[in-house]
Amino acid sequence: MNFAINDIIAAISTPTGMGGIAVIRLSGCGSHELAKRFFKPLAQNCGFEANRMYAGWIIDAENGEPLDEALYVRFAAPRSFTRQDVVELQIHGGGRHARFILDRLLENGARLAEAGEFTMRAVLNGRIDLTRAEAAADLIAARSDGALKAARRQLSGELFRMCENARRQIVSTLAMMEAYIDFPEDELPQHDRIAECAALDEIRLLLEKAADTYRRGRLLAEGALVVICGAPNVGKSSLMNRLARRERSIVDSAPGTTRDVVEEPYQAGGVAVRLADTAGLREAEGVEARGVEMAWKQLDSADLVVWVVDASRVPGREESLISERLKDREGILLLNKCDLPAPAEAPKPEKLWPQAAALHISARNGDGIEHFEKLLEEKLCGEGSPAGVPLITSARHHTALSGAAKALIRAVDAINNGQEAEFVACELREALSALADITGATANDELLEDIFSRFCIGK
């Protein structure tokens, strides 16, 4: 729980789903300094003047790789919606990159905004008049109730139990350390450093596993992008048509927003999918090269890649290019045109793409399509969570779990480095405070109760 009013908050302020554009908004002192680390303007010597829109690229701050085109606007305090420094990033290409950037912002010092928090800051700083303040208050009251109910629904199950269990174990370890600190003259059991670390590591692993399910949970909540790629004329479009035909009675097909990528809506299990057909991948020059470049980029941002190969031909230069590009990823390899006779040197799936699940199909007569759809569903929805690990679908929960796991890593490091107990306690308290978004805050009294019920304290 957080009530601070000057720190940096961030959120995607467009609705989640399949929109073509997403807006990330940040507010608070230092918003611009934080956000610009993830943005590379097209213009040289860009001064980031206030109230001006700059075109550029969203970049991965670690390697400077451009991810997507974006527009950047900075509003300088007090001339902004909240009267604080505000940055708005308009990201072209839907929610996926927005989510990626939001996660990076959250890892680097921003905090996920609570319901109505931007408006609250606007009210606090006198930016909004009284009537609109009433509306803001109503909004907070209504939204927070809704959010609470939604949270409760999710928390009734495994996630809450797991976090509560983790919380209790952290409290128990912390209680021991606090007992050593506050009662140095009492006869306490020997300090077992190794057992302590083992216990903390076990909790940390569980929290990490749960945090990792967020990838799949997010697909469920926000939909998945499945990119179909391959050399020209291997049957990608036939495949698209076959899949789309099956779906046409349920959903309308929509044209793609990007010139060279055609998208179709599709359903796999519970996951809403965008199927994207890309330009044929090959070495190209001029205008075509640009389209091919877009196709490669599309591959990078895909949740799942389906590579279509013509099984009736001997693999060529294009295939080795694609193979090189995909070698570290998982995906589905489709050997199309299995209704045609195979050549002597037929494509070998284990050589082309060892990490993939391979399947023979015929897009033309429908052979293997049903099998492929099943495989698609399996890849996207998985076989369910690992036993005892809940599926995370909310960014807030993901932040809480991974924050707690990181604090536990630091705690174990501190123990191993021989740090004094109060510093280890510091880390454990941070882990508890990270979990508080899911479990509720840990009261000091619970800690004391744990100490006094386990140890005979008091001289």
Binding site: N2, I5, G418, E420, E422, C426, C456, G458
Partner: protein, 622 residues
Amino acid sequence: MSETFDAIIVGGGHAGVEASLALARLGFNTCLVTSDPARIAEMSCNPAIGGLAKGHLVKEIDALGGEMALAADATAIQFRRLNTRRGPAVRASRVQSDMDRYRDRMVEVVHSCPNMTVVSGMVEEILFENGRVSGVGIEGGQSLHTANVILTTGTFLRGLLFTGLSTTHGGRAGDRAAEKLSDSLLRLGLTLGRLKTGTTPRLIKDSIDFSVCEEQPGDRIVVPFSRRSAGLPLPQQSCYITYTNERTHAAIRAGLDRSPLYTGNIVGRGPRYCPSIEDKIVRFADKERHQIFLEPESLERDWIYPNGLPTSLAEDTQLAMLHSIKGLEECRVARYGYAVEYDFVKPTQLYPTLECKAVPGLYCAGQINGTSGYEEAAAQGLLAGLNVACKLRGRPEIILRRDQAYAGVLIDDLTTLGTEEPYRMFTSRAEFRLLLREDNAWYRLAEIGHEVGLVPESEIEAVRAEMRLIESEIERARSVSIPSSDALEKLFASRGIETSRPGYTRENLLKRPELEAADLSEIDPEFSSLPETVREQVELELKYEGYIKRQKDAAARLIELEELRIPKDFDYRSVGGMSREVLEKLETLRPATIGQATRISGVTPAAVSLVIIALTRRRNRP
């Protein structure tokens, strides 16, 4: 007598002394009413001041201009520094005090203090007129007039003393209880609760065989609590350690049928951290032995305090229990242990200034608020006194934040969360523990003490100069380089450090866990010429810089919220959108700041946001 006082303090314990001294020293016409003017600041329980979190409180009291640290130093007969092998924030000082000298010194200080009138009497009533306090009524019909009363009644409100099946009325052994004052408080609309605490039997020194006990001497190096003390003048004494055994436990179990704890005679809740020996035996039946510390109560009086044996068992059971313990086989008892049960004012009825929300002008401090411990009482007494002084001068109240002082944590916990058992301070209660150290108490609080007028100009100037020097030395340490030398090589070799670079800065060396300021002093003459306190601060601030910065950042976020004050007449019903449960909590507790509101259990972030918005609206209204 019809004199009107600026403030009247009811009770001459550790809270009452600090409250009345602070007010009188600030020039206010102050009256201390106590049932026994010769027993001011009596140590009713163990003869020690300080310890974990408590030593911190004593230093904070010193920095704010209180008296406790000076008295503890002047009367210390054993000094120990606890947790020396742990980090700087949880190292704490403790002294065994000569309790007779402690009391006598406080009696002298109070009686000789200008502007102080000491009245002997038992207060029976709080006088209330025109919506606020107007004075106190004393047994026998006398009235004293004032607009500000500070209640520091300790365990005296309807106190009951228990030993075995016998129950007597009393505030503590040898003193009458305040029987009527509770009724007066109830009539004023306050809610009272009931708590219990206990004390040990006292033993005659020459009936104990110390030769079979472990000796626990004090530290060789002693450091006074107070910045104003030159040292500890009294000769240092040892404590001794012995243990209970199976026969002790059998003797206790045999007497449980006459224990008021188990017969249900005691209804008040006792402290979990200081259970009676019978409680320890019952709850931790597997534990083979319990430690007993034999502590001298004074240099002259031959009483020994067997710490670890608080009990309300019957006298013959106490004797059987004692005689089974090594070294105590022949001991004679000077006074039997007893439990005391007393009324307390539920502290959530107080503002963080310690003034009752429902009774303007009435303040409560110390055990009456549900705490235990001399240090906790003294800290509250001092702050209640200072807040009355601020009010009398029309200045803003003093509310210490949780990142500023243990005294702040103490008062915030009491007034925000309340307590169900006697509340004792622990370092684990302070979320900004790394910032709240004994060694920086003056740097944290002296400006506040100076502003209110208890820390004189000369002292604050010295503190400011030190702080400036520390700051500049921290910065300098980042650039001053320590060239390679034989001495450095030798030092590294002796600590198993591999030399990996041609040179080091002071900061590099101080940040190494293997090295400390003393090591640096040996190879860096310039550093060693700095005052010791400066060297210590430079070392700590650099060595633990990462952790300290994290806590400071967290504290900075808290400070914003503490600065958002909620007016006392704020109408929570006008806010709208809050659940009935949250509304009730806010209306009952009436938090002083948004920060305090966030800490009330069950008050949601959304509700706090709504209050913030409503406050802003109110501020913007023409």
